[in-house]
Amino acid sequence: AQTVTQSQPEMSVQEAETVTLSCTYDTSESNYYLFWYKQPPSRQMILVIRQEAYKQQNATENRFSVNFQKAAKSFSLKISDSQLGDTAMYFCAHTPNAGNMLTFGGGTRLMVKP
């Protein structure tokens, strides 16, 4: 069974600075997909970024990038130039492939301070 662990329940960062959210996972699969989802106060789940395990290159999406360390089973999210609108709950998630369930971590609550 897959497990996903987010060790930081809460974090804060000053506006315009950089913050890194941690995620580790456990899986026996050799190929799989990893995701970061953002959940603002509205509670909608919004995809931030995804990474395919077979790709060595770290995914980037504008101010968001990941540090994917397959051997260490680590998948951290870096947010550069933090904005007030980044304030949200962030969930790391894993799935072996399409059709399979997503397994979510417990989330990290990020507060961006002005």
Binding site: F35, Q44, G99, M101, L102, T103, F104, G106
Partner: protein
């Protein structure tokens, strides 16, 4: 951009009543899911649905729950006899393998309150 929609946004019901939560997945998607999130807790998988049948379900998805795709667009979750502990946010999601990303796109959720 196509998106997953869910109705209603908020449902209040009495304990023991049946509720049906509705979802319209993205039109070319083939895999459909329900997840729930009890307030302050992590998102938990309930069930996945493919080719008109359940492909996977969690321990939470007991006999009180059922899913259906009654037509070509809707995907529903029915809770037959609601309990207080069913109060949660329920998310529908869908995905396709066609784009190779296996990304699940979520709807805005239905907040279910059981009194």
């Amino acid at each position: 951009e196509p998106e997953v929609t869910q109705t209603p946004s908020h449902q209040v019901t009495q304990m023991g009543q049946e509720v049906i939560l509705r979802c319209v997945p993205i039109s070319n998607h083939l895999y459909f899911y329900w997840y729930r999130q009890i307030l302050g807790q992590k998102v938990e998988f309930l069930v996945s649905f493919y080719n008109n049948e359940i492909s996977e379900k969690s321990e939470i998805f007991d006999d009180q729950f059922s899913v259906e795709r009654p037509d070509g667009s809707n995907f529903t979750l029915k809770i037959r006899s609601t309990k207080l502990e069913d109060s949660a946010m329920y998310f529908c999601a869908s995905t396709t393998r066609a784009d190779g990303t296996d990304t699940q796109y979520f709807g805005p959720g239905t907040r279910l309150t059981v009194l």
